[in-house]
């Protein structure tokens, strides 16, 4: 059995993180050694927090070395817990930080999801201010952005962030790992308030149902008014695209279907180009499958963060294909994406007139909606309602 272990990162280039080394021992109580660039300001509180975390984990004897680069309390606690659980794999206790008191946005199955901002799950420095950039959703990623041997540590820091970070009204999303590892991710994070789970590399309805079942058992009795966990499967392969409708309709929790183009084009054996002709069919297929299943189609990400003009063009094309949003890998992309997916002023004005005519007809008890001399068909009303909803959502 391992008796000592490290977790976290430190060094001149590291911000808002720390490296801790824990060694357990049979006697002698707790020793805490601290190096910190904020020692004069927070040294005492770091020692206090460390002792508290060790006590919650049931550690009574051991030495802890902390090399701190400005980690805030929930990060410090996560790193200590990760080191202790690595050193003592039998440890079943958890050091959950007190949940902070924030107003969480109510989530719904149908909701504005123009942008979802990916944050690497093991880089807590990006968490604190992400919500200030106003994305519709924030994804704490446990999958591709986390190294294989850091999955355990990332889960803990993501869990703590769900309890202690204010995401300023963005939907709280977690991208888990492909199953079966993804089920372990769910165990750690689901009880702490996840609005949407992204299931990567999804190729079958079965994996969606497995995720659904695990969430349902973890949340038994906890879901209620405005609190629910939805799913956004990501198809990233030729098989996934073929199964898109099955995936999108596999569970009532599925709220949206999205596509991962890097993996998809690799699977096709095609190069990913700026024009995106190679994925045009797959994107169309995803839009169609999502609509057929009654969920929102959401596009992939655009990976050149320096080229906002190209991003705008890609996002406009995406909207024209029927997508409702796309992923962002940098906060600067959020606004461009929101603008691109926003209906134009003319679209909004026209939609408002149609909705007003629809309300008017309803008041009269008439099923016939007309605007000027034109009759308005029900699907047009439906689209107008969606446009008005999106336009209203922007004022959030």
């Amino acid at each position: 059995m391992k008796k000592s272990a490290e977790a976290g990162r430190a060094g001149p280039s590291v911000r808002s993180d720390c490296r801790v080394r824990f060694a357990s021992r049979a006697s002698g109580g707790i020793d805490i050694a601290l190096e910190s660039r904020v020692a004069s300001m927070y040294g005492a509180s770091i020692r206090e927090e460390a002792a508290r975390v060790l006590a919650m984990l049931g550690v009574t004897h051991g030495s802890l070395e902390i090399d701190d680069s400005g980690a805030v309390p929930f990060v410090l606690a996560a790193r200590i817990e990760a080191a202790v659980r690595r050193a003592l794999p039998g440890c079943t206790k958890r050091a959950l930080p007190e949940p902070i008191d924030v107003v969480r946005a109510k989530t719904r199955r149908r909701r504005l999801r123009r942008s979802r901002l990916y944050l690497p799950g093991n880089e807590p420095k990006f968490f604190l201010n992400a919500g200030l950039h106003g994305p519709d959703g924030i994804i704490l990623d446990l999958e591709d952005s986390v190294a294989a041997d850091e999955k355990d540590a990332a889960r803990i820091v993501v869990r703590n962030a769900l309890r202690q970070v204010d995401f300023h009204g963005a939907e709280r999303m977690v991208r888990i790992n492909p199953l079966p590892m993804g089920l372990d991710d769910l165990d750690e994070v689901i009880p702490h308030g996840v609005d949407v789970v992204l299931i990567p590399k999804c190729e079958s309805a079965v994996s969606v149902r497995d995720v659904d079942e695990r969430i349902t058992s973890l949340l038994a009795g906890m879901e209620g008014d405005g609190i629910a966990t939805y799913l956004m499967p990501i198809v990233e392969s030729a098989l996934g695209v073929e199964k898109a409708y099955d995936i999108a309709s596999a569970s009532k929790r599925v709220a949206a279907l999205t596509i991962g183009l890097e993996d998809y084009t690799a699977d096709l054996g095609a190069a990913r180009t700026a024009e995106g002709k190679e994925s045009l069919w797959a994107r169309g297929a995803v839009v169609n499958a999502a609509r057929a299943a009654g969920v929102a189609p959401i596009d992939s990400v655009f990976s050149d963060v320096g080229d906002l003009d190209r991003l705008r063009a890609v996002a406009l094309e995406s909207k024209s294909l029927g997508f409702e949003g796309m992923g962002c890998i940098h906060p600067r992309q959020v606004r461009v994406v929101h603008e691109a997916f926003a209906p134009t002023t003319e679209e909004v004005e026209k939609a408002k007139r149609i909705v007003a005519a629809f309300e008017e007809a309803k008041k009269r008890g008439s099923g016939v909606v007309s605007l000027g001399s034109k009759m308005i068909d029900p699907p047009v009303v439906k689209r107008a309602l969606r446009i008005v909803r999106i336009a209203e959502g922007e004022k959030r």
Binding site: V38, A39, S40, Y42, A71, P331, R332
Partner: protein, 523 residues
């Protein structure tokens, strides 16, 4: 290094009544201190004592210093036009050490990390103390109480005021120049070490007893434009190199890529627009920091959209301001220093890119200064208190880390904006009481962070103007509390001694605060 008796000044800060053997006036409030008497003056010279052919070249710096009768206890000044690429200040004190003098006062217009070499002269006693900004190893040395005299930190305008008022007497000024002729005319726009202008050396050329120009680029008379006039100059020295061009100005100035800083910059630009400051004929000042640059870029787009042009922009200039000048979006750049090669080129070629000095822009003891004419200025800070007062010189751990620069002088703008992150790496920037008071809260109008915009309650006009704007205007205390909840509570104050190691001058020469020695064993 005893500072003697301390008294509480009008800002409720304890300050010494004597500084390095001279009586000093505690801060009395903004605009309250009345200067008396006449300005200082250098000795009257006669051209009969100087070479009639105008050739003042001597062999080297050591020779020039000997000819200036360098002796123990003198005050020697240098300037920071070459920023972190300066080779002259270090060479000056190396030469003084070879001559064998002691207890000199170094009076730089600012010091940079490259001046850490002066530590050896502080330790050997060649330098007694520094009156100027101290950072890095020099700041650490001072804050730990190792310097023999008190550090004195002044703003750029305060430095001019201190020289002009006779508070600091410069025995020998050494002006490093990118170009000079043998008569001593000098400028900053020509040569490998071109830095734009030499405004920080103006007071020294006018008031020092002896003035030496050092250059690596001697041109035949006349060296024009003569930003420094040879009639003030005693000797000219040619050195192989006076500066490291790569560290003097950057080839290209980079805008921040930090999303949080871009957000702050965008809030600042939207504030300037929505508060009605951005209108035809307005003026603003923004430095070369990443956030300030990004602000200028956002503002430019908003000016274009609104069809608005500025009358003038105050530099530190960069290529972004130069573009605005060349695109006709401002009539003038009034420049204090140039930060990149485009700034230098524009200053050399464009008559509407005007060089200024601390006398014209900042000196509080003059018949007006430009600072108060500027409609909006965007500045930074290391700490801001809930009363809007701010610190730019020390870190929250009590260590000196920055100079004041023109910061204090700029506070007299019609709208002073501090653009700051609300915390840095777990260290809150918004605090109950700043560690060191450098700027009184009554002069700071707006604090803009990534978490919201706090308007000083006394600026009801700005608050009214912002009604209906969708900017996140919030009370400063509310933002401070949010930051403390993220950082895990308020930071513990630094553990400091009673001993004073440096004083902070206000723009009128009064003492606004003291810097205390760090307790032994502090990290």
């Amino acid at each position: 290094m005893s500072a003697g008796d301390l008294v509480k000044n009008a800002a409720d800060r304890e300050v010494p009544v004597t500084v390095n053997g001279r009586e000093s006036v505690p801060f009395m409030g903004v605009g309250k201190f009345r200067p008396e008497g006449r300005k200082a003056a250098p000795p009257v010279a006669t051209c009969a004592d100087y070479p009639s052919d105008g050739n003042k070249l001597v062999d080297d710096l050591e020779t020039a210093l000997r000819k200036c009768s360098l002796r123990d206890g003198m005050t020697l000044s240098t300037h920071h036009h070459f920023r972190n690429g300066d080779l002259v200040a270090n060479a000056l004190f190396d030469a003084a050490a070879r001559i064998g003098v002691k207890d000199l006062v170094w009076f730089p217009s600012a010091s940079f990390p490259c001046h850490a070499e002066q530590l050896k002269h502080l330790e050997s006693g060649v330098i007694h103390h520094i009156e100027g900004s101290m950072n890095g190893p020099l700041g650490d040395y001072c804050t730990r109480g190792k310097m023999k005299g008190l550090g004195v930190l002044r703003s750029h305008g305060g430095r001019y005021q201190a020289v002009q008022d006779g508070e600091v007497h410069i025995d020998i000024a050494v002006i490093a120049a990118p170009a000079a002729d043998p008569f001593g005319n000098a400028n900053g726009v020509m040569g490998d070490s071109a830095c734009g202008l030499l405004g920080f050396a103006l007071a020294d050329s006018q008031y020092a007893d002896r003035v030496i120009v050092v250059t690596d680029n001697v041109v035949p008379f006349p060296c024009v434009p003569w930003q420094i006039q040879g009639n003030h100059i005693d000797f000219v020295v040619e050195m192989d190199r006076v500066g490291d061009p790569e560290k003097i100005v950057s080839g290209t100035t980079r805008v921040t890529k930090s999303p949080d800083r871009l957000l702050i910059a965008e809030y600042v630009a939207r504030f300037v627009r929505d508060a009605g400051i951005m209108r035809d004929g307005f003026s603003f000042q923004a430095g070369a920091g990443g956030t300030a640059l990004a602000f200028a870029i956002y503002l430019k787009e908003m000016m274009k959209d609104a069809g608005v042009r500025a009358r003038f922009i105050r530099g530190g200039s960069t290529k972004y301001l130069v573009e605005m000048l060349e695109e006709g979006m401002t009539d003038y750049i009034l420049d204090g220093q140039t930060f990149d090669l485009e700034g230098v080129r524009s200053m050399r070629e464009n008559p509407n890119h005007v060089d200024t000095s601390p006398f014209t822009s900042y000196n509080y003891h003059g018949k007006g200064n430009f600072a108060g004419i500027v409609d909006a200025v965007v500045l930074g800070a290391t700490e801001v208190g809930v009363d809007f007062s701010a610190n730019v010189v020390t870190h929250s751990d009590g260590k000196l880390l920055h100079g004041i620069g023109g910061w204090q002088n700029c506070l007299f703008s019609k709208c002073t904006i501090l653009a700051i992150p609300s915390f840095r790496d777990r260290i809150p920037v918004l605090v109950d009481r700043v560690t060191t008071l450098v700027g009184p809260g009554e002069l700071i109008d707006v604090v803009i962070t990534e978490r919201g915009i706090a308007v000083n309650p006394h600026r009801t006009d700005l608050l009214d103007a912002l009604k209906g704007s969708d900017l996140p205007v919030r009370p400063i205390g509310e933002i401070k509390e949010e930051v403390e909840s993220i950082c895990g509570g308020a930071p513990a104050p630094p553990v400091l001694d009673d001993d004073v190691v440096a004083v902070i001058k206000w723009v009128d020469g009064t003492v606004i605060d003291s810097v205390r020695r760090l307790a032994p064993g502090s990290p």
